[in-house]
């Protein structure tokens, strides 16, 4: 190591790097320490497996190339790509250059960063090529920076409705980040003006600057460059730029099978710190596009959680429709984090629901292989219950209608509002009822219940939504459907589509009854019906705006009937639609057998 390669201006940079890594170490250790048992077990189980290789590949793809952002918005993707990949390459190639110059692997740690200043004009291997590549990379980064600047000033040009607001520490980090590369360009160019050691970019600019008294300001420029780096590194762990490092950790944990738990853990903090504030979640949210509420979306929610300034109205004002989760290039489970914060709004620890007598449910009923659980919502759309009864009878399947006269909620609405202990009580009660029945299959008509039974309950019997059940009946030849010449569209309910990937079954059923037409937002891009039980902040008028946005999309192909497979969607649509064109899938099946 050659200690002559030193100038006091490297001190701010070195200081910044040390502070940054100390901060990162503290944050990473404390997050990992606060993972819960299940999450740790997942890591232990998968850390030595191919999943780790897959994680490395994904980290490269997402953190350096930003493939997901590219897919949603190519310009935004290029911006992130040039800054992330370009900067990394500047460091890597800078190091290569330093090694080539020194002729040994160990060089001063800052030599790669301030190379042009220390280089004394002597020849070293691949000098020309390396100089060219370094200038090219600087151009590349500067082009991304230009886009970032345009994005901040005129976000619409980049296809974004609105970009996010900043906290003071964000602003310091942002300004220092924006200064780093222009300062580097100026510093290298002025050095090139004196030493004639620049590349196509720095030398040309240096020649332009040569008429100025460059000697006077070349060292101050290197100082400024170093200070900008220092400020950025020091502030970075307290700003959104923390995502640069956290996202890598998140990708690894996720590949090892760690998922968000229902309570706040270190993983929640990792997710929160992985948000790059790209703002992609803003434009997919119907609260923004239909109801004109634009301060509650995931990006703002996460920002407020980070800044410890979360307002309960923001935590509660969300449909939990998962459109933003689907769109988020980082894959942050923001809806789960909202539920965690709803839980934090306070919970009572008293016995609940002692009035529910579980023995009443199966008493006096003959055993049967199928258990039908209609669910609360289905009870206010009796047409669905009648149709299901008809379908069971026509298919000659024996069933127990478990909640025919005594309703009990599956617990998901409670869970969504953060009442976890209460939901647990209902879960235990229902589990014992289901176990006592001795049935092998549980059929439910409500997607909310389906989501609960399939993902929250550990039932040892098969759980089917009625779309899946009807599809099975068709496959077995138990139902004879007659195809009509009717035009139908299908609305995917959030809870079974994005929630559980049930896309094909309803489409197969509908296609055997009529002609299914596609709509603009279908499958995982489906819109919310507006009736979501998850949002207690919306007023009726705002909810109606969401419903009509969704109905607009569904009525576009001018269908004879709009088919859905959720009693809540059906009820919400019917309330807001003048003609009687909304049917549940079980109803149209029942009419055609």
């Amino acid at each position: 190591m050659n200690l002559d390669m030193y100038n006091p201006f490297v001190i701010p940079f070195a200081f910044g790097v040390v502070i940054l890594f100390v901060n990162l170490a503290i944050a990473f250790v404390s997050w990992l320490y606060r993972l819960d048992k299940v999450q740790r077990r997942q890591i232990g189980k998968n850390i030595i497996s191919f999943k780790t290789l897959a994680a490395i590949w994904e980290a490269i793809r997402e953190c350096l190339f930003h493939r997901n952002i590219f897919k949603t918005n190519p310009i935004l993707g290029y911006m992130h790509f040039s800054l992330a990949f370009g900067w990394l390459m500047l460091i890597v190639i800078g190091k290569v250059e330093a090694v080539a110059y020194e002729g040994q692997y160990f060089t001063n740690p800052w030599l790669a960063i301030f190379f042009r200043f220390f280089e004394d004009g002597r020849d070293y291997p691949y000098k020309e090529v390396l100089t060219f590549v370094m200038d090219f990379l600087l151009c590349f980064v500067l082009s991304g920076l230009l886009l970032a600047f345009i994005k901040r000033m005129y976000s619409k040009l980049l296809g974004m409705r609105k970009t996010t607001k900043h906290t003071p520490s964000d602003r310091v980090a942002l300004i220092s980040l924006w200064c780093i590369f222009p300062l580097r360009l100026l510093a290298e160019s002025s050095t090139a003006a004196i030493e004639h050691n620049g590349g196509f970019l720095t030398q040309s600019l240096g020649n332009l600057l040569a008429f100025l008294p460059v000697e006077k300001f070349v060292t101050p420029l290197w100082w400024a460059y170093s200070i900008a780096l220092c400020l950025f590194f020091v502030f970075m762990p307290f700003t959104r730029y923390m995502h640069i490092f956290t996202e890598v950790l998140l990708i690894f944990l996720r590949k090892w099978g760690v998922i968000e738990s229902q309570k706040h853990t270190g993983y929640t903090d990792i997710e929160i710190n992985s948000c790059s504030r790209c703002g992609i979640c803003i434009d997919v949210c119907q609260l923004n596009t239909a109801a004109k509420i634009n301060d509650v979306q995931s990006v703002y929610f996460i920002r407020d959680v980070r800044d410890l300034s979360l307002d309960r109205h923001i935590a509660n004002n969300c449909l939990l429709c998962n459109r933003c989760v689907q769109a988020c290039p980082v894959g942050i489970e923001t809806t789960m984090i909202r539920q965690i914060y709803r839980y934090k709004q306070g919970n009572e620890d008293i016995p609940f629901y002692e009035y529910i007598n579980t023995s009443k449910y199966t008493e006096g009923k003959n055993s049967a292989p199928i258990l039908y659980f209609a669910g609360c919502m289905t009870h206010i759309t009796p047409g669905i219950i009648d149709s299901m009864k008809n379908i069971f009878d026509k298919a000659d399947d024996k069933y127990i209608f478990i909640d025919e006269d005594k309703n009990i909620c599956c617990g998901r609405p409670l869970r969504q509002q953060g009442f976890l202990e209460q939901a647990e009580v209902l879960k235990e009660k229902l589990t014992s009822i289901i176990k006592d029945s001795g049935a092998e299959v549980l059929v439910t008509s409500c997607p909310i219940c389906y989501n609960s039974f399939a993902n929250e309950y550990n039932l040892d019997i098969k759980v089917l939504h009625h779309t899946q059940y009807i599809k099975e009946l068709i496959d077995k030849g138990k139902l004879n459907l007659s195809k009509q010449d009717v035009k139908l569209v299908y609305h995917d309910p959030c809870e079974i589509s994005r929630g559980n990937n049930i896309y094909e079954e309803p489409r197969i059923i509908i296609n055997s009854i009529g002609n299914l037409h596609s709509t603009k937002n279908e499958k995982d891009d489906t819109l919310c019906c507006g009736g979501s039980l998850a949002n207690i902040e919306l007023n009726t008028e705002q909810a109606a705006l969401i419903t009509s946005q969704t109905l607009d999309v569904l009525t576009k192909p001018n269908p004879d009937f709009i088919i859905t497979s959720c009693p809540l969607c059906k009820k919400t649509f019917t309330k807001n639609c003048s003609n009687n064109k909304i049917l549940d899938i079980s109803e149209i099946v029942s009419r055609n057998i």
């Binding site: 979360l310 309960r312 935590a315 914060y341 934090k344 709004q345 306070g346 919970n347 009572e348 008293i350 609940f352 629901y353 009035y355 529910i356 007598n357 609360c376 919502m377 009870h379 206010i380 006269d405 005594k406 309703n407 009990i408 909620c409 617990g411 609405p413 409670l414 509002q417 009442f419 209902l426 009736g531 039980l533 207690i536 902040e537 007023n539 009726t540 809540l568 009820k571």
Partner: protein
């Protein structure tokens, strides 16, 4: 002889002594609370009502009267299933009303 009737124990609710703050902050949050015309639709459809004497209408009344202790016990019975909100002809956000009542009354609320 039993007539099936009995006298209520006498009790007084002094509305002047009520601390109105809780009701006021609540009404700002759920303005539809005031729209209820006591038709009872919510109570009739309620899942919890099929098991117990729970009644959404009564919760509303208890809250207005400031009988918070009784109310707290009542509110625990709701399963938040949402049927009441969907059937209400006056678009009262009954479910939000119950959740907010729970949180207004709960001293442990920390957000």
């Amino acid at each position: 002889m039993k007539f099936g009737f009995s006298l209520n124990t006498s009790r007084t609710i002094d509305l002047d002594k009520l601390d109105k703050k809780k009701q006021e902050s609540f009404t700002d949050d759920i303005p539809t609370f005031k729209r209820c015309f006591a038709c009872g639709g919510c109570a009739a459809t309620c899942s919890a009502q099929q098991h117990t004497d729970f009644n959404v209408l009564k919760c509303n009344l208890l809250f207005r009267r400031g009988e918070f202790e009784t109310l707290e016990k009542e509110l625990e019975k709701c399963m938040l299933c949402g049927k009441c909100t969907l059937v209400c002809p006056r678009n009262v956000n009954t479910r939000a009303m119950i959740i907010k009542m729970r949180r207004t009354l709960n001293t442990k609320t920390n957000l």
